[in-house]
């Protein structure tokens, strides 16, 4: 069937070039100005590697490859065109697809040459399949929770961690058995199947608030399983790509845990936000001050420095375009407007930045926690839209608070704080926020989109006076 006789070293060179381009691709991602070139470098690398592979001598039949490539592209396009608010669940879904690919290839490899390969290769193969299949179901579960087709609240029961870890231990034990006594094709089915169950069990107790960390962790697993596949196939390109992905997922999930002051084990085994009975009895009814859109507009237009703190509530209300109008109206009046973005704002890390960029807010106005926190004491107005826990001063002052020690945006240090919120209900983690009872805080009750729209109208009306 091969109409071209391409020497093997040419194919290896395309892999080498692809490896270099992948590293370059991530390097170019370090600045927003070069990031798109990074995507192009990655695309060229990918095309080179696939083209090189298609020239391989070992390929005797192209029919199914062609059908699968076309079908995959057809499925890929709508997955690449989803709405920006749906990016977290799309990401989780693509982790599932990546893991599925690795698991299926690993399973085939086992049945084709499981009795021929070395013990080391066999154990890596088992690791590949275990990581792959738990990532597959785990990511599907995560996508389901993010899409809200599955309940977001953590589901827990007594002895859950012991049950879950035992399930995983059985799979690892069976893998060890297969490595020591090769040639048990039926046992291998359990090595694929049990981690599928573990993936489900692993995500069940994890609440929506912890999803960002979990997504990164799943990303890391998907990468490691791909690297394991590289060892099995002796493909250095795959090892490098897998290691890069594994490393990125790992660093970012560490970052996330730090941003929430939680340990990895706590995220995975902690089931956040289930018991919130502490100090509920001692809670007296405290006064909050509320204001109208007209008053809010007057305060904002008198300010010289405003920091907007967006949270996921903003994205839910689809208020990002109204916020852009507010940004324009204030900037036109000479007010310095910046955005303070907490690492866990949104449904996945960096998600809020994407949503605001979509509304054409310049990225140099979007500042990270560390960059913005020093600015709050000189800020006239901190406007909190749809964020709650990441502004909770109890994280600094109250050792009894479940979020104590979590780095927060110090909005309470601003001269005035305005919070747009539907009502006084607690946030995602179910914790009361003392910020709302401070003297300098004004509550703006209402839907984020409608309220920001009303402020913008007031500002426009004021300009005509």
């Amino acid at each position: 069937m091969n109409w071209m006789h391409v020497p093997q070293y040419i194919i290896e060179l395309t892999y080498l070039a692809a490896t270099a381009l992948f590293i370059l691709s991530l390097k170019l991602m370090s600045a927003p100005t070069t990031a798109r070139h990074g995507v192009w470098a990655g695309e060229i690398g990918m095309v080179l590697a696939i083209a090189g592979t298609l020239l391989n001598h070992g390929i005797v039949d192209y029919k199914w490859i062609a059908i699968a490539l076309v079908l995959g592209s057809i499925i890929g396009v709508p997955l690449g065109m989803v709405q920006m608010t749906a990016v977290p669940q799309r990401t989780a879904l693509s982790h599932a697809f990546g893991a599925l690919c690795v698991t299926l290839v690993g399973t085939s490899e086992f049945y084709l040459r499981g009795t021929e390969v070395s013990r080391f290769t066999l154990s890596v193969l088992c690791m590949e399949v275990i990581l792959g299949s738990l990532t597959f179901t785990g990511s599907l579960m995560a996508a389901g929770k993010l899409q809200e087709v599955l309940p977001q609240r953590p589901i827990t029961f007594k002895g859950q961690n012991i049950v879950n870890l035992s399930v995983l231990a059985v799979a690892v034990g069976l893998a060890a058995y297969v490595v020591i006594h090769p040639g048990h094709p039926h046992v291998f089915l359990f090595i694929v199947g049990i981690p599928l169950l573990f993936g489900v069990l692993m995500i069940v107790p994890i609440g929506g608030a912890d999803m960002p960390t979990v997504i990164y962790l799943l990303n890391s697993y998907a990468g490691l399983s791909a690297a394991a596949m590289g060892f099995v196939l002796d493909s250095k390109l795959l090892i490098v790509a897998g290691a890069l992905d594994g490393a990125s997922g790992f660093i970012l999930s560490l970052n996330m845990s730090k941003a929430m002051n939680r340990s990895f084990t706590n995220v995975l085994f902690g089931a956040f936000g289930q018991e919130q009975t502490t100090s509920a009895g001692a809670q007296e009814i405290r006064n909050v001050r509320s204001a109208t859109a007209e008053e809010a507009a007057a305060i904002l237009s008198a300010a010289s420095k405003v920091v907007i703190v967006p949270g996921y509530g903003l994205a839910v209300a689809q208020a990002q375009h109204k916020v852009r109008e507010l940004y324009d109206a204030l900037t036109k009046r000479g007010v310095d407007v910046k955005f303070g973005i907490h690492p866990v704002a949104g449904r996945m890390p960096g998600h809020m930045n994407v949503l605001l960029a979509e509304a054409d807010i310049p990225y140099d106005k979007l500042l990270d926690l560390d960059e913005i926190n020093g600015d709050f004491p000189q800020t006239d107005v901190a406007l909190v839209i749809g964020a709650n826990d990441v502004t909770n001063p109890a994280a600094r002052s109250d050792p009894g608070s479940p979020i104590y020690g979590m780095p927060i945006l110090d909005v309470d240090k601003a001269r005035a704080v305005m919070v747009i919120k539907r009502g006084m209900s607690p946030g995602f983690a179910g914790i009361d926020n003392p910020l709302y009872y401070l003297d300098q805080t004004l509550m703006l009750f209402g839907d984020a989109k409608a309220f920001v729209g009303a402020i913008v109208r007031e500002l426009a009306g004021g300009a005509q006076d």
Binding site: A18, S30, D61, I215, G230
Partner: protein, 98 residues
């Protein structure tokens, strides 16, 4: 055989270090597009699936491999597409009016 394995381990170790150093420098601003990009790059696993299907060793391997190619290709296409769409939206205020 043993030497290949050691080389692979060295490659893995070095790539992990490069990954750590490169990714540590990426600002939180771009973490979402970063993840969709690494996802697309990770779908290079499609190479293994193509070799598997192309070798046509058994019906099982062809069926599983074909599904694997579909899954990985959709990640390649979808991943690069959405990363580019996201990055296209990031604009600086500097080239515009001061």
């Amino acid at each position: 055989m043993k030497l290949d394995l050691m080389t692979d381990l060295y490659v893995f170790m070095l790539a992990a270090f490069i990954g750590f150093e490169v990714i540590r420098r990426i600002s939180p601003l771009l973490h979402t597009p970063l993840m969709s990009l690494t996802n697309a790059l990770d779908a290079i696993a499609v190479v293994g699936a193509i070799l598997l299907v192309g070798a046509h060793k058994s019906t099982l391997s062809t069926v599983l491999g074909t599904i694997a190619i579909v899954a990985a290709t959709s990640n390649v296409v979808g991943g690069f597409l959405i990363t580019d769409r996201m990055l296209k939206m990031f604009k600086s205020s500097r080239p515009q009016k001061p």
